[in-house]
Symmetry: C2
Subunit: 249 residues, 2 copies
Amino acid sequence: MADLTIAGLRGMPEILPGANLPALIVEAIGRARLEVDDGDVFVVTQKIVSKANGRLVRLDSVEPSAPAIEFGRRAGKDSRLIEVILRESVRIVRMERGVIIAETRHGFVCANAGVDGSNVAAGFVTLLPENPDEDARAIRDALTESLDRHIGVIVSDTFGRPWRLGQVNVAIGSAGVKPLVDYRGCLDASGQRLQSTVIGVADQLASAAELVMGKLSAVPVAILKGAAALLGDGRAADLIRPSDEDMFR
Amino acid sequence: MADLTIAGLRGMPEILPGANLPALIVEAIGRARLEVDDGDVFVVTQKIVSKANGRLVRLDSVEPSAPAIEFGRRAGKDSRLIEVILRESVRIVRMERGVIIAETRHGFVCANAGVDGSNVAAGFVTLLPENPDEDARAIRDALTESLDRHIGVIVSDTFGRPWRLGQVNVAIGSAGVKPLVDYRGCLDASGQRLQSTVIGVADQLASAAELVMGKLSAVPVAILKGAAALLGDGRAADLIRPSDEDMFR
């Protein structure tokens, strides 16, 4: 009856630097007695990928620069946190009212350049993975080998948006999933050619997964079943709008 | 096993002005032999709500103003379409490279002020519903009465985003669903208080629904099952970031 189902993967342990994420995912699947089928998409949060990669910074170890101290003072924020954000940024898009919207090395534009202190030990923050598309690829390769299924993997993070309140999950890494589905030139149900419809499918898969992950319980992996039509090639980097086509940078 | 399932509702007829959408949805549910349970969320596309409300404009009937003619000439676009877009806008946020990003009367910021020629008869465009929150409320009231279930209703549209390619579904109308879930002050799995996490749940529900709707087949309604925890009060208007807090208007 359902076209798509979404299951949260419970029972994942706390992830430490160096953890073998695919092996831990396979173990948790076994304990939860979940079936994995061709066409499933695994959505894995940035937080556990960053932890496994050791992308953690202890704020006590950070020496804030003069600009970080100045902005921290104005915004009432920890200048060491600001320093980490500035180091992770290639460009500051907005820096006002205590909020930093920055462009990361990957080209993502997001709050605090993805530096985040939630769901991590006190006094630490996580940085975004250095190459989340490669992480997605590595997790997919390992899961494909262990499970012998044709699957996709998305690494998700939670980004705010201009104009709309609330954050939503997006794909920052992707392997084996079509990041975009381009309907331009196709005929719609009225028999007309669609002119500008390109759907950010990988972002929508990430958003769907968030609905079962929540933010308080430890559900850092979700499995979307029935997504075979959305498997394919591409990377989450394909979802980044090139700077020169962007009206809001 | 699954926490959430998403079913596309097939067999909806072409929607004409004055159509009784809730009655047509209930009939299609019966034909498809779908079960409706407490906690289900119905996502209904803007397109069929606009059609049922008669929010259609025949381009032949439009007299373009001088600014619309000028922009149409520069952008290589139909000046009558530009005229309709300008009429639906309270403010133009960007107007360059043939693209118009406009703020609508509702406060939505989107391409072409929501004016759209896809999935509608040739020579016509649809306008956004005048009050999509009220439409969601009316559909919910009628479905609740017919089906005797505790459900939510979202009216969805497909919006582009700054910085990222691809459009995603968002909620432009909502009834019986929490538009935002605010985790600020809650303890995360590490025992720390979350400081800024507010999730745009209604938008994520809309995005999840798009995955089974597609853009070519006539699947203008999806049912998300298992979403009882996301039912609640609020409107999609709650998702609009107030102008004076918005760094990108």
